[in-house]
Protein backbone atom coordinates (compact mmCIF):
# COMPACT_ATOMS: atom_id res chain seq x y z
CA UNK A 1 0.00 0.00 0.00
CA UNK A 2 1.26 3.49 -0.83
CA UNK A 3 2.03 6.16 1.76
CA UNK A 4 -0.93 8.25 2.89
CA UNK A 5 -0.72 11.77 1.43
CA UNK A 6 -3.82 13.19 3.07
CA UNK A 7 -5.19 12.01 6.39
CA UNK A 8 -8.42 13.39 7.78
CA UNK A 9 -9.60 12.18 11.20
CA UNK A 10 -12.92 12.94 12.87
CA UNK A 11 -13.31 16.25 11.04
CA UNK A 12 -16.17 18.60 11.99
CA UNK A 13 -16.99 21.88 10.34
CA UNK A 14 -19.97 24.24 10.39
CA UNK A 15 -20.90 27.59 8.84
CA UNK A 16 -22.88 29.89 11.14
CA UNK A 17 -23.98 26.96 13.27
CA UNK A 18 -25.08 24.88 10.26
CA UNK A 19 -23.10 21.61 10.21
CA UNK A 20 -21.38 21.07 6.86
CA UNK A 21 -19.11 18.17 7.70
CA UNK A 22 -19.65 15.82 10.62
CA UNK A 23 -17.18 13.19 11.80
CA UNK A 24 -15.52 12.92 8.41
CA UNK A 25 -12.65 10.47 7.92
CA UNK A 26 -10.59 10.14 4.78
CA UNK A 27 -7.22 8.79 3.72
CA UNK A 28 -5.80 9.58 0.29
CA UNK A 29 -2.73 7.61 -0.69
CA UNK A 30 0.23 8.55 -2.86
CA UNK A 31 -0.50 8.26 -6.57
CA UNK A 32 -4.27 8.35 -6.17
CA UNK A 33 -6.55 10.27 -8.54
CA UNK A 34 -9.57 10.91 -6.36
CA UNK A 35 -12.82 12.49 -7.43
CA UNK A 36 -14.83 14.35 -4.80
CA UNK A 37 -18.51 14.22 -5.70
CA UNK A 38 -21.67 15.08 -3.83
CA UNK A 39 -24.72 17.34 -3.81
CA UNK A 40 -24.43 21.12 -3.94
CA UNK A 41 -23.88 22.40 -0.44
CA UNK A 42 -22.83 18.91 0.64
CA UNK A 43 -19.39 20.10 1.66
CA UNK A 44 -17.16 19.29 -1.35
CA UNK A 45 -15.59 22.72 -1.59
CA UNK A 46 -15.45 23.02 2.19
CA UNK A 47 -13.49 19.75 2.33
CA UNK A 48 -11.00 21.05 -0.27
CA UNK A 49 -10.66 24.36 1.53
CA UNK A 50 -9.94 22.51 4.79
CA UNK A 51 -7.26 20.44 3.02
CA UNK A 52 -5.72 23.67 1.67
CA UNK A 53 -5.73 25.33 5.09
CA UNK A 54 -8.08 28.11 3.94
CA UNK A 55 -10.49 26.99 6.66
CA UNK A 56 -9.75 25.67 10.13
CA UNK A 57 -11.67 22.64 11.40
CA UNK A 58 -13.95 23.02 14.43
CA UNK A 59 -12.78 19.63 15.59
CA UNK A 60 -10.54 16.86 14.28
CA UNK A 61 -7.33 16.91 12.27
CA UNK A 62 -6.24 17.33 8.69
CA UNK A 63 -2.74 16.29 7.68
CA UNK A 64 -1.33 16.83 4.20
CA UNK A 65 2.00 15.08 3.59
CA UNK A 66 2.15 14.62 7.36
CA UNK A 67 1.94 18.39 7.98
CA UNK A 68 -0.80 20.85 8.93
CA UNK A 69 -2.29 22.12 5.64
CA UNK A 70 -0.85 25.65 5.79
CA UNK A 71 2.65 24.20 6.35
CA UNK A 72 2.18 21.77 3.47
CA UNK A 73 1.03 24.51 1.08
CA UNK A 74 4.39 24.93 -0.72
CA UNK A 75 4.28 21.22 -1.63
CA UNK A 76 0.80 21.37 -3.10
CA UNK A 77 -0.78 22.80 -6.24
CA UNK A 78 -4.23 24.36 -6.43
CA UNK A 79 -6.65 25.23 -9.17
CA UNK A 80 -9.61 27.20 -7.76
CA UNK A 81 -13.16 26.97 -8.98
CA UNK A 82 -13.26 30.28 -10.83
CA UNK A 83 -9.76 31.62 -11.04
CA UNK A 84 -9.22 35.14 -12.29
CA UNK A 85 -12.86 36.03 -12.88
CA UNK A 86 -11.84 39.57 -13.83
CA UNK A 87 -11.17 39.19 -17.58
CA UNK A 88 -9.96 42.75 -18.02
CA UNK A 89 -7.14 42.35 -15.50
CA UNK A 90 -3.82 43.41 -17.03
CA UNK A 91 -1.68 40.39 -16.37
CA UNK A 92 0.33 38.17 -18.70
CA UNK A 93 0.24 34.38 -18.89
CA UNK A 94 3.78 34.26 -17.49
CA UNK A 95 2.88 36.46 -14.52
CA UNK A 96 -0.13 34.32 -13.67
CA UNK A 97 1.96 31.15 -13.69
CA UNK A 98 4.64 32.79 -11.53
CA UNK A 99 1.94 33.44 -8.91
CA UNK A 100 2.09 29.70 -8.25
CA UNK A 101 5.65 29.95 -6.90
CA UNK A 102 5.70 30.22 -3.12
CA UNK A 103 7.69 33.20 -1.83
CA UNK A 104 8.42 34.71 1.52
CA UNK A 105 10.59 37.28 3.26
CA UNK A 106 12.93 39.29 1.08
CA UNK A 107 12.68 36.82 -1.82
CA UNK A 108 9.27 38.36 -2.52
CA UNK A 109 10.95 41.37 -4.11
CA UNK A 110 11.66 39.61 -7.39
CA UNK A 111 11.47 36.20 -8.98
CA UNK A 112 14.65 34.14 -9.06
CA UNK A 113 15.93 32.42 -12.17
CA UNK A 114 14.71 29.10 -10.74
CA UNK A 115 11.16 30.52 -10.56
CA UNK A 116 11.24 31.60 -14.21
CA UNK A 117 12.65 28.26 -15.30
CA UNK A 118 9.96 26.39 -13.38
CA UNK A 119 7.33 28.60 -15.01
CA UNK A 120 8.79 27.87 -18.44
CA UNK A 121 8.71 24.11 -17.77
CA UNK A 122 5.10 24.27 -16.57
CA UNK A 123 4.03 26.34 -19.58
CA UNK A 124 5.87 24.08 -22.03
CA UNK A 125 4.23 21.06 -20.50
CA UNK A 126 0.85 22.67 -21.10
CA UNK A 127 1.82 23.81 -24.65
CA UNK A 128 1.29 27.41 -23.57
CA UNK A 129 4.90 28.70 -23.66
CA UNK A 130 4.43 30.51 -27.02
CA UNK A 131 1.56 32.51 -25.49
CA UNK A 132 3.50 33.53 -22.36
CA UNK A 133 3.36 37.28 -23.08
CA UNK A 134 -0.33 37.40 -23.96
CA UNK A 135 -2.83 38.88 -21.58
CA UNK A 136 -4.74 36.09 -19.88
CA UNK A 137 -8.07 37.78 -20.64
CA UNK A 138 -7.42 37.42 -24.39
CA UNK A 139 -7.21 33.62 -24.26
CA UNK A 140 -10.00 31.13 -24.93
CA UNK A 141 -11.59 29.25 -22.03
CA UNK A 142 -9.59 26.11 -22.78
CA UNK A 143 -6.29 27.99 -23.05
CA UNK A 144 -6.97 29.78 -19.78
CA UNK A 145 -7.64 26.48 -18.09
CA UNK A 146 -4.21 25.26 -19.26
CA UNK A 147 -2.63 28.38 -17.79
CA UNK A 148 -4.25 27.66 -14.43
CA UNK A 149 -3.06 24.06 -14.54
CA UNK A 150 0.44 25.37 -15.28
CA UNK A 151 0.10 27.69 -12.30
CA UNK A 152 -0.84 24.72 -10.11
CA UNK A 153 2.11 22.72 -11.49
CA UNK A 154 4.76 25.41 -11.21
CA UNK A 155 5.41 24.68 -7.54
CA UNK A 156 6.30 21.10 -8.58
CA UNK A 157 3.63 19.81 -6.22
CA UNK A 158 3.22 16.32 -4.78
CA UNK A 159 -0.53 16.82 -4.43
CA UNK A 160 -2.84 18.81 -6.67
CA UNK A 161 -6.28 20.10 -5.67
CA UNK A 162 -8.69 20.95 -8.47
CA UNK A 163 -12.03 22.51 -7.60
CA UNK A 164 -14.51 21.97 -10.46
CA UNK A 165 -11.90 22.50 -13.15
CA UNK A 166 -14.45 22.14 -15.96
CA UNK A 167 -16.16 25.52 -15.78
CA UNK A 168 -16.05 27.32 -19.16
CA UNK A 169 -14.68 24.37 -21.12
CA UNK A 170 -16.39 22.60 -24.03
CA UNK A 171 -16.80 18.83 -24.35
CA UNK A 172 -13.70 18.35 -26.51
CA UNK A 173 -11.63 20.38 -24.06
CA UNK A 174 -12.91 18.25 -21.20
CA UNK A 175 -11.70 15.00 -22.74
CA UNK A 176 -8.29 16.52 -23.43
CA UNK A 177 -8.19 17.84 -19.89
CA UNK A 178 -8.90 14.44 -18.33
CA UNK A 179 -6.29 12.77 -20.54
CA UNK A 180 -3.80 15.35 -19.36
CA UNK A 181 -4.72 14.78 -15.71
CA UNK A 182 -4.29 11.04 -16.21
CA UNK A 183 -0.79 11.68 -17.49
CA UNK A 184 0.08 14.10 -14.68
CA UNK A 185 -1.23 11.55 -12.21
CA UNK A 186 1.81 9.35 -12.93
CA UNK A 187 3.85 11.68 -10.75
CA UNK A 188 1.29 13.72 -8.77
CA UNK A 189 -1.55 12.75 -6.45
CA UNK A 190 -4.73 14.48 -7.63
CA UNK A 191 -7.85 15.42 -5.68
CA UNK A 192 -10.56 16.80 -7.96
CA UNK A 193 -14.00 18.14 -7.08
CA UNK A 194 -16.38 17.30 -9.88
CA UNK A 195 -20.02 17.31 -10.88
CA UNK A 196 -19.13 15.18 -13.83
CA UNK A 197 -19.81 11.51 -13.15
CA UNK A 198 -18.48 10.47 -16.54
CA UNK A 199 -15.06 11.64 -15.51
CA UNK A 200 -15.43 9.83 -12.23
CA UNK A 201 -15.91 6.46 -13.83
CA UNK A 202 -13.53 6.77 -16.79
CA UNK A 203 -10.46 8.50 -15.46
CA UNK A 204 -10.16 8.53 -11.69
CA UNK A 205 -8.91 5.77 -9.39
CA UNK A 206 -11.11 6.42 -6.40
CA UNK A 207 -14.17 8.39 -5.38
CA UNK A 208 -15.10 10.27 -2.24
CA UNK A 209 -18.75 11.12 -1.94
CA UNK A 210 -19.27 14.09 0.37
CA UNK A 211 -22.62 14.88 1.91
CA UNK A 212 -21.94 15.97 5.47
CA UNK A 213 -20.06 12.73 5.78
CA UNK A 214 -17.38 11.31 3.53
CA UNK A 215 -17.80 7.93 1.86
CA UNK A 216 -14.58 6.74 0.30
CA UNK A 217 -14.41 4.15 -2.47
CA UNK A 218 -11.09 2.71 -3.46
CA UNK A 219 -12.36 2.03 -6.97
CA UNK A 220 -13.53 4.28 -9.78
CA UNK A 221 -17.10 3.32 -9.34
CA UNK A 222 -20.24 5.15 -8.51
CA UNK A 223 -22.50 3.10 -6.33
CA UNK A 224 -26.22 3.42 -6.31
CA UNK A 225 -26.19 4.70 -2.77
CA UNK A 226 -23.68 7.39 -3.77
CA UNK A 227 -25.95 8.46 -6.57
CA UNK A 228 -28.85 8.66 -4.20
CA UNK A 229 -26.79 10.61 -1.76
CA UNK A 230 -25.38 12.91 -4.39
CA UNK A 231 -28.45 13.64 -6.42
CA UNK A 232 -31.35 12.01 -4.62
CA UNK A 233 -32.66 11.18 -8.09
CA UNK A 234 -30.94 8.25 -9.82
CA UNK A 235 -33.47 8.25 -12.66
CA UNK A 236 -32.17 11.53 -13.94
CA UNK A 237 -28.68 10.11 -14.20
CA UNK A 238 -29.78 7.07 -16.13
CA UNK A 239 -31.50 9.46 -18.51
CA UNK A 240 -28.18 11.25 -19.05
CA UNK A 241 -26.76 7.92 -20.23
CA UNK A 242 -23.49 6.77 -18.74
CA UNK A 243 -22.65 3.52 -20.52
CA UNK A 244 -19.46 2.76 -18.58
CA UNK A 245 -20.98 3.46 -15.20
CA UNK A 246 -20.71 0.65 -12.70
CA UNK A 247 -23.55 0.46 -10.28
CA UNK A 248 -23.09 -1.54 -7.16
CA UNK A 249 -24.89 -1.81 -3.90
CA UNK A 250 -23.02 0.05 -1.21
CA UNK A 251 -21.87 -2.50 1.39
CA UNK A 252 -22.52 -0.14 4.30
CA UNK A 253 -26.13 0.52 3.48
Amino acid sequence: MNEPVIEIRDLWFSYNGQPVLTAADLTVREGDFMAVIGPNGGGKTTLIRLMLGLLKPRRGTVRVLGLPPDKAAPLTGYMPQRPGHNQGFPVSVMDVVLMGRPRSGLTRLRYARADREAAQRALERMDMWPLRDRRVGELSGGQRQRVYVARALVSEPRVMFLDEPMANVDAQGQTEFYELMKELNRSVTIVMVSHDLMAVSSYVKSVACVSRQVHFHDRPEVTESMLKMAYSCPVELVAHGLPHRVLEIHPDD
Binding site: L52, A73, M99, R103, S104
Partner: protein, 282 residues
Protein backbone atom coordinates in the same frame (compact mmCIF):
# COMPACT_ATOMS: atom_id res chain seq x y z
CA UNK B 1 2.66 80.47 -22.76
CA UNK B 2 4.73 83.28 -21.22
CA UNK B 3 2.08 84.01 -18.63
CA UNK B 4 2.34 80.36 -17.47
CA UNK B 5 6.06 80.77 -16.84
CA UNK B 6 5.29 84.04 -15.20
CA UNK B 7 2.74 82.21 -13.08
CA UNK B 8 5.40 79.75 -11.96
CA UNK B 9 7.27 82.69 -10.54
CA UNK B 10 4.62 82.83 -7.84
CA UNK B 11 5.29 80.54 -4.91
CA UNK B 12 1.68 79.46 -4.73
CA UNK B 13 1.68 78.37 -8.36
CA UNK B 14 4.92 76.43 -7.97
CA UNK B 15 3.56 74.73 -4.86
CA UNK B 16 0.31 73.99 -6.68
CA UNK B 17 2.18 72.30 -9.49
CA UNK B 18 4.35 70.27 -7.11
CA UNK B 19 1.31 69.21 -5.09
CA UNK B 20 -0.50 68.23 -8.28
CA UNK B 21 2.46 66.17 -9.49
CA UNK B 22 2.80 64.33 -6.18
CA UNK B 23 -0.91 63.67 -5.95
CA UNK B 24 -0.81 62.40 -9.53
CA UNK B 25 1.98 59.96 -8.73
CA UNK B 26 0.09 58.50 -5.77
CA UNK B 27 -3.23 58.42 -7.56
CA UNK B 28 -1.78 56.49 -10.49
CA UNK B 29 -0.34 53.80 -8.24
CA UNK B 30 -3.02 53.52 -5.57
CA UNK B 31 -5.82 54.22 -8.04
CA UNK B 32 -4.72 51.18 -10.05
CA UNK B 33 -5.06 49.00 -6.97
CA UNK B 34 -8.41 50.64 -6.17
CA UNK B 35 -9.76 49.92 -9.65
CA UNK B 36 -8.61 46.31 -10.00
CA UNK B 37 -9.78 45.48 -6.48
CA UNK B 38 -13.10 47.29 -6.95
CA UNK B 39 -12.60 49.52 -3.94
CA UNK B 40 -13.98 52.69 -5.53
CA UNK B 41 -16.95 53.02 -3.20
CA UNK B 42 -14.77 52.28 -0.20
CA UNK B 43 -12.31 54.99 -1.27
CA UNK B 44 -15.18 57.45 -1.54
CA UNK B 45 -16.23 56.43 1.96
CA UNK B 46 -12.78 57.10 3.38
CA UNK B 47 -12.62 60.48 1.62
CA UNK B 48 -15.94 61.68 3.02
CA UNK B 49 -15.53 60.14 6.46
CA UNK B 50 -12.19 61.93 6.78
CA UNK B 51 -14.06 65.23 7.01
CA UNK B 52 -14.85 64.10 10.55
CA UNK B 53 -11.12 64.43 11.17
CA UNK B 54 -11.19 68.05 10.02
CA UNK B 55 -13.96 68.76 12.52
CA UNK B 56 -12.11 67.01 15.33
CA UNK B 57 -8.91 68.91 14.58
CA UNK B 58 -10.67 72.30 14.67
CA UNK B 59 -12.69 71.42 17.77
CA UNK B 60 -9.63 70.32 19.75
CA UNK B 61 -7.35 72.93 18.22
CA UNK B 62 -5.04 70.49 16.45
CA UNK B 63 -3.43 70.81 13.04
CA UNK B 64 -6.08 69.99 10.39
CA UNK B 65 -3.58 67.81 8.48
CA UNK B 66 -3.05 65.70 11.58
CA UNK B 67 -6.79 65.29 12.17
CA UNK B 68 -7.53 64.36 8.61
CA UNK B 69 -4.66 61.84 8.29
CA UNK B 70 -5.52 60.21 11.60
CA UNK B 71 -9.22 60.03 10.94
CA UNK B 72 -8.77 58.74 7.40
CA UNK B 73 -6.49 55.95 8.64
CA UNK B 74 -8.89 55.04 11.46
CA UNK B 75 -11.87 54.86 9.11
CA UNK B 76 -9.81 52.82 6.62
CA UNK B 77 -8.94 50.31 9.36
CA UNK B 78 -12.57 50.12 10.47
CA UNK B 79 -13.72 49.57 6.89
CA UNK B 80 -11.07 46.88 6.38
CA UNK B 81 -12.29 45.04 9.48
CA UNK B 82 -15.92 45.27 8.38
CA UNK B 83 -15.33 44.21 4.77
CA UNK B 84 -13.28 41.22 5.90
CA UNK B 85 -15.86 40.19 8.47
CA UNK B 86 -19.18 40.79 6.76
CA UNK B 87 -18.50 41.12 3.06
CA UNK B 88 -22.17 41.13 2.05
CA UNK B 89 -22.93 44.09 4.32
CA UNK B 90 -19.78 46.01 3.52
CA UNK B 91 -21.37 48.53 1.17
CA UNK B 92 -24.04 49.45 3.70
CA UNK B 93 -21.53 49.94 6.50
CA UNK B 94 -19.27 52.00 4.24
CA UNK B 95 -22.26 54.15 3.29
CA UNK B 96 -23.06 54.76 6.95
CA UNK B 97 -19.47 55.70 7.82
CA UNK B 98 -19.36 57.95 4.75
CA UNK B 99 -22.33 59.98 6.02
CA UNK B 100 -21.56 59.87 9.74
CA UNK B 101 -17.97 61.07 9.29
CA UNK B 102 -19.17 63.97 7.19
CA UNK B 103 -21.94 64.90 9.66
CA UNK B 104 -19.53 64.67 12.60
CA UNK B 105 -17.20 67.09 10.87
CA UNK B 106 -19.93 69.62 10.12
CA UNK B 107 -21.32 69.54 13.69
CA UNK B 108 -17.91 69.80 15.36
CA UNK B 109 -17.11 72.84 13.25
CA UNK B 110 -20.50 74.34 14.22
CA UNK B 111 -19.55 73.80 17.86
CA UNK B 112 -16.10 75.33 17.51
CA UNK B 113 -16.49 78.87 18.86
CA UNK B 114 -15.44 81.81 16.77
CA UNK B 115 -14.11 79.79 13.86
CA UNK B 116 -15.78 78.98 10.57
CA UNK B 117 -13.60 76.53 8.70
CA UNK B 118 -13.71 76.90 4.98
CA UNK B 119 -15.77 73.82 4.14
CA UNK B 120 -15.47 74.55 0.44
CA UNK B 121 -11.71 74.18 0.45
CA UNK B 122 -12.06 70.61 1.72
CA UNK B 123 -14.89 69.77 -0.62
CA UNK B 124 -13.27 71.14 -3.77
CA UNK B 125 -9.61 71.37 -2.91
CA UNK B 126 -7.26 74.20 -2.11
CA UNK B 127 -4.31 73.52 -4.38
CA UNK B 128 -3.49 77.23 -4.71
CA UNK B 129 -2.91 77.56 -0.98
CA UNK B 130 -0.70 74.53 -0.32
CA UNK B 131 1.94 75.53 2.23
CA UNK B 132 5.52 74.19 2.06
CA UNK B 133 4.93 72.00 5.13
CA UNK B 134 2.15 70.13 3.30
CA UNK B 135 4.48 69.53 0.37
CA UNK B 136 6.96 67.84 2.70
CA UNK B 137 4.16 65.73 4.16
CA UNK B 138 3.09 64.73 0.66
CA UNK B 139 6.65 63.84 -0.25
CA UNK B 140 6.93 61.60 2.81
CA UNK B 141 3.59 59.90 2.12
CA UNK B 142 4.62 59.33 -1.49
CA UNK B 143 7.86 57.71 -0.38
CA UNK B 144 6.03 55.41 2.04
CA UNK B 145 3.51 54.37 -0.63
CA UNK B 146 6.15 53.79 -3.32
CA UNK B 147 8.33 51.67 -1.03
CA UNK B 148 5.39 49.61 0.24
CA UNK B 149 3.90 48.93 -3.18
CA UNK B 150 7.37 48.20 -4.57
CA UNK B 151 8.22 45.72 -1.85
CA UNK B 152 4.88 43.87 -1.96
CA UNK B 153 4.24 44.31 -5.69
CA UNK B 154 3.96 40.59 -6.51
CA UNK B 155 1.82 39.98 -3.43
CA UNK B 156 -0.57 42.80 -4.35
CA UNK B 157 -0.69 41.46 -7.91
CA UNK B 158 -1.48 37.92 -6.73
CA UNK B 159 -4.12 38.96 -4.21
CA UNK B 160 -5.78 41.42 -6.59
CA UNK B 161 -5.99 38.78 -9.28
CA UNK B 162 -7.06 35.80 -7.21
CA UNK B 163 -7.27 36.33 -3.48
CA UNK B 164 -7.89 32.73 -2.47
CA UNK B 165 -5.06 31.35 -4.55
CA UNK B 166 -2.73 34.01 -3.20
CA UNK B 167 -3.61 32.98 0.33
CA UNK B 168 -2.81 29.33 -0.41
CA UNK B 169 0.55 30.41 -1.84
CA UNK B 170 1.44 32.09 1.44
CA UNK B 171 0.63 35.70 0.57
CA UNK B 172 -0.40 37.43 3.84
CA UNK B 173 -3.71 38.51 2.31
CA UNK B 174 -5.40 39.90 5.41
CA UNK B 175 -2.52 42.06 6.69
CA UNK B 176 -1.93 43.33 3.15
CA UNK B 177 -5.59 44.24 2.82
CA UNK B 178 -5.22 46.48 5.86
CA UNK B 179 -2.01 47.92 4.41
CA UNK B 180 -3.76 48.61 1.11
CA UNK B 181 -6.66 50.41 2.78
CA UNK B 182 -4.31 52.53 4.88
CA UNK B 183 -2.44 53.48 1.70
CA UNK B 184 -5.75 54.40 0.09
CA UNK B 185 -6.44 56.62 3.11
CA UNK B 186 -3.06 58.34 2.71
CA UNK B 187 -3.63 58.81 -1.01
CA UNK B 188 -7.10 60.21 -0.39
CA UNK B 189 -5.76 62.72 2.14
CA UNK B 190 -3.19 63.91 -0.37
CA UNK B 191 -5.67 64.26 -3.18
CA UNK B 192 -8.13 66.16 -0.99
CA UNK B 193 -5.54 68.98 -1.05
CA UNK B 194 -5.60 69.04 -4.82
CA UNK B 195 -9.18 68.47 -5.92
CA UNK B 196 -11.15 68.16 -2.69
CA UNK B 197 -12.87 65.18 -1.16
CA UNK B 198 -15.85 65.18 -3.52
CA UNK B 199 -13.64 64.84 -6.58
CA UNK B 200 -11.04 62.43 -5.17
CA UNK B 201 -12.71 59.48 -6.84
CA UNK B 202 -12.21 60.89 -10.32
CA UNK B 203 -8.43 61.11 -10.03
CA UNK B 204 -8.24 57.68 -8.41
CA UNK B 205 -10.35 55.94 -11.04
CA UNK B 206 -10.29 57.68 -14.44
CA UNK B 207 -6.57 57.35 -15.24
CA UNK B 208 -6.31 53.68 -14.14
CA UNK B 209 -9.50 52.90 -16.05
CA UNK B 210 -8.04 54.34 -19.26
CA UNK B 211 -4.70 52.65 -18.57
CA UNK B 212 -6.13 49.21 -17.84
CA UNK B 213 -7.00 48.23 -21.40
CA UNK B 214 -3.66 49.35 -22.82
CA UNK B 215 -1.36 47.89 -20.18
CA UNK B 216 0.14 44.40 -20.37
CA UNK B 217 0.83 44.22 -16.65
CA UNK B 218 -0.30 45.76 -13.39
CA UNK B 219 3.00 47.65 -13.14
CA UNK B 220 2.54 49.20 -16.56
CA UNK B 221 -1.05 50.06 -15.70
CA UNK B 222 0.32 52.00 -12.72
CA UNK B 223 2.89 53.70 -14.95
CA UNK B 224 0.38 54.76 -17.61
CA UNK B 225 -2.04 55.94 -14.92
CA UNK B 226 0.68 58.09 -13.33
CA UNK B 227 1.51 59.68 -16.70
CA UNK B 228 -2.17 60.34 -17.45
CA UNK B 229 -2.62 61.82 -14.00
CA UNK B 230 0.31 64.17 -14.47
CA UNK B 231 -1.05 65.27 -17.85
CA UNK B 232 -4.56 65.83 -16.46
CA UNK B 233 -3.35 67.69 -13.39
CA UNK B 234 -0.95 70.03 -15.16
CA UNK B 235 -3.37 70.69 -18.03
CA UNK B 236 -6.20 71.33 -15.60
CA UNK B 237 -4.08 73.63 -13.49
CA UNK B 238 -2.99 75.59 -16.56
CA UNK B 239 -6.56 75.93 -17.87
CA UNK B 240 -7.76 76.97 -14.43
CA UNK B 241 -5.09 79.68 -14.31
CA UNK B 242 -5.73 80.96 -17.84
CA UNK B 243 -9.53 81.01 -17.59
CA UNK B 244 -9.70 81.82 -13.90
CA UNK B 245 -11.64 78.67 -12.95
CA UNK B 246 -11.72 76.52 -9.80
CA UNK B 247 -8.61 74.36 -10.19
CA UNK B 248 -9.94 71.09 -8.69
CA UNK B 249 -13.04 71.05 -10.85
CA UNK B 250 -11.04 72.00 -13.96
CA UNK B 251 -8.60 69.11 -13.37
CA UNK B 252 -11.54 66.73 -13.09
CA UNK B 253 -13.11 68.05 -16.30
CA UNK B 254 -9.83 67.50 -18.14
CA UNK B 255 -9.71 63.92 -16.76
CA UNK B 256 -13.32 63.42 -17.83
CA UNK B 257 -12.47 64.66 -21.33
CA UNK B 258 -9.64 62.11 -21.40
CA UNK B 259 -12.06 59.43 -20.28
CA UNK B 260 -14.56 60.14 -23.09
CA UNK B 261 -11.84 60.47 -25.72
CA UNK B 262 -10.48 57.06 -24.69
CA UNK B 263 -13.97 55.55 -24.96
CA UNK B 264 -14.44 57.05 -28.40
CA UNK B 265 -11.04 55.84 -29.62
CA UNK B 266 -11.84 52.39 -28.32
CA UNK B 267 -15.19 52.38 -30.19
CA UNK B 268 -13.56 53.43 -33.44
CA UNK B 269 -10.84 50.80 -33.13
CA UNK B 270 -13.31 48.03 -32.39
CA UNK B 271 -15.35 48.92 -35.45
CA UNK B 272 -12.33 49.05 -37.72
CA UNK B 273 -10.26 46.02 -36.65
CA UNK B 274 -12.13 42.90 -35.59
CA UNK B 275 -10.59 41.45 -32.44
CA UNK B 276 -8.45 38.34 -32.96
CA UNK B 277 -8.96 37.15 -29.42
CA UNK B 278 -11.83 34.88 -30.40
CA UNK B 279 -15.21 34.67 -28.71
CA UNK B 280 -15.33 35.36 -25.01
CA UNK B 281 -16.50 32.34 -23.06
CA UNK B 282 -19.55 32.90 -20.90
Amino acid sequence: MTDVFAALGFDFMRNALLAGLMAGLTCGIIGTLVVVNRLVFLSGGIAHASYGGVGLAFFFGLAPALGIVGFAILSALAMAAVTLKAKHRADTVIGVMWAVGMALGVILIDLTPGYNADLMSYLFGSILTVPDSDLWLMLALNAVILLTVGFFYHDFLAMSYDEEFAQVRGVPVRPLYYVLLVMIALAVVMVIQVVGLILVIALLTIPPYIAERHAGSLGRMMGYAVVLNLVFTTTGLWLAYVFNLTSGATIIMVAAAGFFISLAVQRLRRNRVPSDAGPEPA
